[in-house]
């Protein structure tokens, strides 16, 4: 507990965290802490009003992030973070809203909600910690597990083709799509800042090392080896065609893939509202 006290005293981001809940549940070498760090730095640099910030998460290791942030936060049922966040956003357009969850939560059980929120262009920033497997339940096959990788439920190697999340997000209509790894701390922070300032459905994928659960089964003997691997295989290519950016063990293209403008659901609704109110006034006056 001495470490927690020292952290509270000296760490500039401690004020954003529910430090009374530390130590956190994440394993050594996990990328989730890095995502939490980048997110709080983005909040800090943008001077976001934390009283008006809501973070929603689903189930899984990264799902616990909502409970570590000292803001209004909702740790929802498995897969439903985006649907619940849609309700929050539409009911209060003045809040800053982020969904931070995992690949299984957002793209397996919650996949339908992801594509529909992107299609509607609901204003929210979605950050996905992609660790290639279901870490919290002990390392099962997920929708992003690379082909031929080993998990507890693909003991002979994965035969399912993984989702290319940035391609999926772009095709579903997200106005901002980026991918980084847990190694790209500065760039990830800049991306989160950009997304938080932009209106519409924004998606950031973070390839996050899971050395304890995924790494061990896939020839990464130490956490540092996963980080080295991310360094070796990642390649920054802004504006790259997201449909060609599949993740393989040999190559991970990172960067900003989409950055476009499109009216949000809320903006279109507001326009309809003004029209309806005008008509009602005319009717009442007549």
């Amino acid at each position: 507990m001495k470490a927690v006290q020292e952290f509270e005293m000296h760490h500039p981001m401690a004020k954003y965290l529910r430090t009374e809940r530390f130590p956190h549940i994440w394993c050594e070498g996990c990328g989730n802490g890095i995502i939490l760090g980048c997110f709080t730095r983005a909040l800090d640099e943008l001077k976001i009003n934390i009283d008006k910030l809501v973070v929603v998460s689903g189930i899984g290791c990264i799902g616990r992030i909502a409970g570590y942030l000292r803001c209004d936060s909702f740790h929802t049922t498995h897969g439903r973070a985006i649907a619940l966040a849609t309700g929050i956003r539409l009911a209060n357009p003045n809040l800053t809203l982020a969904v931070i969850s995992g690949d299984g939560d957002l793209f397996s059980i919650g996949g339908n909600h992801f594509i529909h929120a992107a299609r509607r262009n609901i204003d929210m920033t979605v950050i996905c910690s992609n660790n290639f497997n279901y870490g919290m339940t002990g390392g099962q096959l997920g929708p992003t597990t690379p082909l031929h990788s080993y998990t507890t439920t693909s003991p002979y190697g994965n035969i399912e083709h993984p989702f290319n999340l940035v391609h999926l997000a772009a095709a579903a209509g997200a106005v901002y799509v980026a991918r980084w790894t847990a190694l790209h701390v500065q760039r990830l922070t800049a991306s989160i800042k950009k997304a938080l300032q932009k209106k519409g459905f924004k998606f950031i994928e973070v390839v996050s090392p899971c050395p304890e659960i995924f790494g061990r089964r896939n020839n990464f003997k130490k956490a540092i080896e996963m980080m080295r691997w991310l360094k070796d295989v990642s390649e920054i290519r802004h504006g790259y065609d997201p449909s060609k950016a599949e993740i393989t063990m040999e190559k991970i293209v990172v960067g900003e893939f989409v950055d476009v403008e499109k009216p949000t659901y809320e903006e279109l609704l507001q326009k309809k509202y003004i029209k309806v109110q005008e008509k009602l006034r005319e009717k009442n006056a007549g």
Binding site: I50, D51, T76, R80, A83, G87, I88, R89, N92
Partner: protein, 384 residues
């Protein structure tokens, strides 16, 4: 935002589903998320037209899982929220109904029941989701469910659902059957100032002293909305009074689950509403709710004409089940008759409360309601 045409004061000819939507608006509902399903679609259609008029939000979600999640989110953002569905959608909603119960989120779910199980009879009415309403999601929690028997009650009880939901921070159901949902009848909408509307209680202390899930004496904790500056953490995990996960502490789990149940059970007498007809001297009692209670009125009157002392107990509140009231009636009468549009659901609760008094059940499946004569015949045989 300007708000116009919030309450349509006056006399109207309305369909049950429409009256439900108008009741919600009168109760202050300003968020509706739903997915089309027969025979509840007319509620969504009415809300799609009306929400924008009153400065509220209508959103059609991708499915009922999302609809239920969205109303929980909207409620935490401080807006009264509702969804409407029928059996198949109600099944999908159970996941997040459990979340609403666990996180003590005020919200209203309308179920216009149709013939089931599974896809069943989309356009035919039924009363087959009555037990699911209480026991549908996994785990222990208590809910409130009201069963309207007229289009007027579709309006009145929707308001009551919101008031109860806000008071007890619990998902509250309007459990109507397809008959009442699709029925056209006269509705009287009172002036705005005559409609009693309850709002959730807010914290009376500043954020640094606020303990989000610490209950008052009524077992209900005051609720801070997102954005109010209280910085609340909400989770479906077993949590302590601070809202923090405490999944390995048996005492925390016991205390939480106990309170989720007891806040309804201890307040049951305040919540429960019933309607009585000629029960004072009754020797046989019909116990019914929703559409089945309407034929029961005629049956009871016919029995009286035939010299049988019959009476009717109509359950306006189905959950919490009015156990005490049913027990008292069971002590008074020689027999109880229960007509339901299912193969035997709430009758099990009646039997439990009635103890030794014989209970005669009249099932009805297929879409046609009970005929008064069918119920009368059972009354007649029951007192022979």
């Amino acid at each position: 935002m300007t708000e116009q045409r919030t309450v349509l004061t006056g006399k109207h000819l309305m369909q049950g589903d429409m009256a439900c939507a108008e009741g919600a608006i009168a109760a202050g509902c300003r968020f509706f998320a739903g997915y089309p399903i027969t025979p509840a679609t007319e509620i969504a259609e009415r809300m799609a037209r009306r929400m924008i008029e009153v400065g509220g939000i209508y959103v059609q979600m991708e499915d009922e899982l999302a609809s239920m999640a969205a109303i929980i989110g909207a409620s935490w953002a401080g807006v009264k929220a509702m969804t409407a569905t029928s059996g198949p959608g109600f099944s999908l909603m159970q996941e997040n109904i459990g979340l609403a119960a666990m996180t003590e989120t005020p919200c209203v779910v309308v179920n216009i029941m149709r013939g089931s199980p599974s896809t069943g009879q989309p356009t035919e009415p039924g009363q087959q989701d009555v037990m699911q309403a209480q026991w549908g999601s996994h785990g222990d929690y208590d809910v409130i469910a009201l069963a309207p028997a007229s289009v007027q009650e579709m309006f009145d009880l929707t308001i009551e659902c919101f008031n109860l939901s806000e008071t007890y921070r619990v998902p509250t159901f309007l459990l109507a059957d397809g008959f009442i949902g699709h029925l056209w009848e006269r509705v009287i909408i009172p002036p705005l100032e005559e409609i009693k509307v309850v709002k959730r209680k807010k914290p009376k202390v500043p954020p640094e002293k606020y303990i989000p899930f610490k209950p008052d004496d009524d077992l209900v904790p005051p609720m801070a909305n997102f954005g109010d500056g209280y910085r609340v953490h909400v989770t479906g995990l077993t949590h302590d009074e601070h809202g923090y996960p405490r999944t390995d502490d048996p005492e925390v789990q016991f205390k939480l689950v106990q309170r989720l149940c007891e806040k309804i059970r201890k307040n049951a007498e305040k919540i429960i509403k019933i309607k009585e007809l000629m029960l004072e001297d009754a020797e046989v009692a019909v116990i019914a709710y929703g559409i089945a209670s309407r034929a029961s009125i005629s049956a009871v009157k016919k029995a009286r004409e035939a010299g049988i002392k019959a009476g009717l107990l109509r359950l306006v509140t189905v959950w919490p089940f009015p156990e005490k009231i049913v027990s008292e009636i069971a002590n008074q009468v020689k027999a109880i008759v229960v007509p339901e549009m299912n193969y035997g659901q709430l009758v099990r609760e009646v039997e439990r409360a009635a103890k030794e008094t014989p209970v005669h059940f009249i099932p009805k499946l297929g879409g046609e309601p009970h005929k008064p004569d069918e119920i009368f015949e059972v009354i007649r045989r029951a007192v022979k």
